[in-house]
C-alpha cells in the first residue's frame, strides 16, 4: 500500500508539473508594456513553487515507500527520529520560504506599484468607462477635450444616455463620443476612469494583463499601454447578476494613424 501511495503521489506531481512546464494551457501573448514584468514574476513564482511542490510531494512519497509496512505484517524495524528533530524543519521552512517571500515581495511590489500606484504618464489618452448590468460603454472627450458632467438621474438605457449627460445645459457634454467598443492607439498610454452604474463589475483583459473592479460610488483610475494592434476581449470578472457570463466587450488596439481616423469618423452622442 505504501509503494502504491508513493507511485501515485509521484505520478500526480510529475504529470501536473509537466503540463505546467509544457505550457499546454498558458497565458495568451502579452500586448502591454507592463505585462512582461508580470509574466516574468509569474514565471519566477512558477519555478520556485514547482520546485517546492515536487520536493514536498516526492519527500512524502519516498518516506511513505521507505517507512511503510508491507504485505500486512507488522514492521519490526527500530523507529527513528528525524535527524535533529524539529529544528531543521523550522530552519528549512523559515529560510527557504522566508527568502522566497523577500524576493517575491521586493520584486513583485515594484511591478504592482508600476501599474497601480503610479499616476498615468503625462499625455495619456483619457477615456471614461461605464459598467452596467451587463455591458460596458466608453466615452471619449471629443473635440473640446473635456468630459461632460455625469448626472445619474439622467442615465437611461432607453434613451441611449448611458453616461447620464445633459447636453441641453452642459456644453462640454455635447461633443462627447460614446461607443461600445474600447478603441485605443498602440504604444500610447491610456488612462481610464472606471464608473459603475449599478453594482460591482470588473475590467479584465487577459492579453493586456490588466484587471480592476468597478465599485459603485467610486471613480477608479486605471492606466496601461497596449503595444500590439488587434482585437481583444474585455470581460467582467465580478459577479454582477444573471447576465454576468455575457458581460463582455472588445478592446481594439489600432495603429496611431488608424486610431486618429477612427476617432474622426465618430459622431458625438448628441
Amino acid at each position: 500500500m505504501g509503494r502504491l501511495f508513493a507511485v501515485v503521489v509521484t505520478a500526480i506531481a510529475l504529470v501536473s508539473v509537466t503540463l505546467f512546464a509544457l505550457h499546454t494551457w498558458w497565458l495568451p501573448p502579452d500586448i502591454s508594456t507592463h505585462g512582461g514584468r508580470i509574466d516574468s514574476q509569474l514565471n519566477e513564482t512558477m519555478i520556485v513553487a514547482g520546485i517546492l511542490f515536487v520536493a514536498a510531494q516526492l519527500a512524502l512519497g519516498v518516506f511513505v515507500w521507505r517507512f511503510g509496512e508491507r504485505g500486512g505484517t507488522r514492521a519490526t524495524w527500530p523507529v527513528r527520529i528525524f535527524p535533529g528533530g524539529a529544528t531543521p524543519m523550522v530552519v528549512i521552512a523559515t529560510v527557504l520560504v522566508g527568502i522566497e517571500i523577500l524576493v517575491l515581495t521586493l520584486v513583485g511590489s515594484k511591478v504592482w506599484a508600476s501599474v497601480y500606484q503610479s499616476p498615468p504618464p503625462p499625455g495619456a489618452l483619457q477615456i471614461d468607462v461605464l459598467a452596467e448590468q451587463f455591458a460596458f460603454y466608453f466615452r471619449y472627450a471629443g473635440a473640446d477635450g473635456k468630459f461632460g458632467v455625469i448626472h445619474p438621474e439622467k442615465m437611461s438605457d432607453a434613451d441611449q444616455n448611458f453616461f447620464g449627460l445633459d447636453p441641453a445645459t452642459d456644453t462640454t457634454a455635447r461633443d462627447d463620443i460614446v461607443v461600445a467598443t474600447l478603441v485605443v492607439p498602440a504604444n500610447q498610454p491610456v488612462a481610464l476612469r472606471l464608473h459603475a452604474k449599478d453594482v460591482n463589475h470588473s475590467f479584465y483583459v487577459r492579453e493586456a494583463r490588466i484587471q480592476q473592479d468597478f465599485v459603485p460610488g467610486m471613480v477608479i483610475p486605471l492606466h496601461f499601454t497596449a503595444t500590439t494592434p488587434g482585437r481583444y476581449e474585455l470581460v467582467c470578472t465580478q459577479l454582477c447578476g444573471l447576465g454576468h457570463y455575457n458581460m463582455r466587450a472588445y478592446v481594439e488596439v489600432k495603429s496611431p494613424a488608424e486610431f486618429g481616423q477612427w476617432l474622426k469618423a465618430q459622431q458625438p452622442a448628441f
Binding site: F63, G68, R80
Partner: protein, 564 residues
Amino acid sequence: MFSVDHKVIGRQYLDLALVAVFTGMVLSWLMRFHLGWPDTPIPGLGKIAPGGAAGGVMTPEYYLALMTMHGTIMVFFVLTTAPFAGFGNFLLPIQVGAEDMAFPRINMMSFWVTLVAFLVLVAAFFVGDQPPLSGWTAYAPLSAVGKDAGPGQGWGQTLWAISIGIFCIAQLLGSLNFIATTLDLRTRGMSLARMPMATWAWFITAVIALVAFAVLMPACILLILDRVAGTSFFIPGGLVISDQLQPHTGGSPLLWQHLFWFFGHPEVYVAILPGFGIVSQILPVFARKPLLGPKVFIACLAAIAFLSYTVWGHHMFLSGMNPFSATLFSVPTLVITIPAAIVTLLWIGTIYGARLRFTSASLFALGFVSVFVSGGISGFFLAQPSTDIYLHGTYFVVAHFHFVMGVAAMFGIFAGTYFWFPKMFGRMMSETLGKWHFWLTFIGVYCIFMPMHYLGLAGNVRRYSAFTDDYLQPLIPLHRFITIAALVTGAAQLIFLYNLIRSRLRGPQAPDNPWEATTLEWSTSSPPPHDNFGGRRPVVTQGPNEYAVAGPGGRDYIMQAESR
C-alpha cells in the same frame, strides 16, 4: 433528541454536515455538467426546477443560484460544522477528561440554532421569486439593493442573510463552550502541555471562530437593514438600476467587503485547522512514533491564528481599495506560509523512520498532507498583488481554495471519520471499502482541481454559467474532463456513504482502543458512557505523544491515563 450530551450533539452536527455535503455535491454535479455540456438537458432537472431549468437546461440565473447555494452550504454547513463543531463536540470534552462541555444547554442550543440556519437557507432556495445568486461572498450592492437588481435579489437574498446571521450566533455559542471547556474542565494532570494536538487545534479554532463570527454577525444585520429597512450602509448614492435611480445615499460597498473578509479569511482557518489537529493526532498513531515537534506545531497554530486576522485584504487587491495597502496585506499573507510550511515539514518528518501502518484513516491523513501542499503552494501566486492582477477572478483561485480549504478539510474529515467511528458507534468501518474510497477520491480530486489551475492560467474567468463564446471555447474539452472526473469522484463518495450506513448497523464490534492510541477517548468504552468515563475521572500522567516507548505489557505506547 434534544440531548445536552456533547456526544449526541457532536453526532447531530456530523449528521447535518453529511446531509449538507451530499446536497452541496449534487449541486456541484449539476453545475459541472452544465459547464461541460451547456445545451444538453439534465434528465429530471426540468421537473424539479421548472422555473430555473425548463426542459432540463438551466438558465444563467439558476446556475448562479446553484453556485451560491453550493458555496454557502459547503463553507458554513460542512466545513465549519463537521471538522470543528462536529468532531470537536464529540471529542474535545473526552480528550480533556471532562464529563461534558462547560455549558451543555448552550451547547445544545448551538446545534439547534445551526439547524434553523440551515433550514432558513434551504427556504431561501425555494421560497419567494428566485433563489439568491450573489455568491457565498454576497458582495454589496448587488446583494443589498433588492429586486431591481434582477432575479434572485428578492426574498431569497434576504433569507440568505438571515440564515448566515443565525449561523453566526450558533457558532459563537459553540466556540464559547469549546474555549471554556478547554480552559476550565481539564481533568487532573491534563496540563496544557499534555493536551492532544486535536484538542489544541479545536481550541485555537474556537478562538478564531469567536472573533470571526462576532464580526460577520453585525455585518449581516447591516445587510438585512439595507435590504428591508431602506438604510444605506453598503449602498452608495447615484445608483441607477434598470433605469431606476435608487433612493440610497453615501454607503460604502467596500465596507461590506472589509467586514466580510475580516471574517472570511479566518473562516478558511476555521475549516482547515481542525484538519491540522486531526492529522497531527492520527499520523503518530499509525506511524507508531511521536509527532515531530509538538510544541512547534502548537506555536505554528497560534501564529496562524494571529496572522489570519491581518491578511483579509488579499481578497481585495483589485477591489478599488487603496493600492498601497495591497502591498501591506501581501506581506503577512506570504508570511503565514512559513508556519504552514513548518507544519507540513513536521508531518513529513514524522513519517521519516516510522513503522507506518496503512488504514483508511492513515491514508486520508497522508492524502491530507499531499493536497494541503498542492493547495498551499498555489497561494504564492495569489498572495502577490502583481500576479493576482492576472489570476484574480479566474479558475486559478477556484483551484486554490478548493484544494486548500475544500479538499484538504474534507480529507481531514474523512481521516477523522475512519479513525473515530469505532469510538462513536462502537462498530468498525469496512477497511476494504475505505481504501477503495481513498484511492478513487485521492486520484479524483487531483483530476478535478489540478486542471483548474490550467484554466486559470489560460484566463478562464469564474462564476460564468457558460463558456460557449470566443476565447473560452477552446477550453471546453478541459472543462469536460473536469466534469467527468467530478462525476466519478462524486460517485465514489457513495462508497463512503454505504460504508457509514452499513457499519453503523452491522459493523463488527469495536474494541476500546482498536488503533493502539494514547489519548483519553481510547481509555473509555466504545461508545463512551453518558458521563464519558463511567463515574470515574481519569488522571493523566503522560503527554499524548508517548509512542515508540517501552509501555506496560510490552506495548509500544503509554496511554495518557495509564494508571487506570
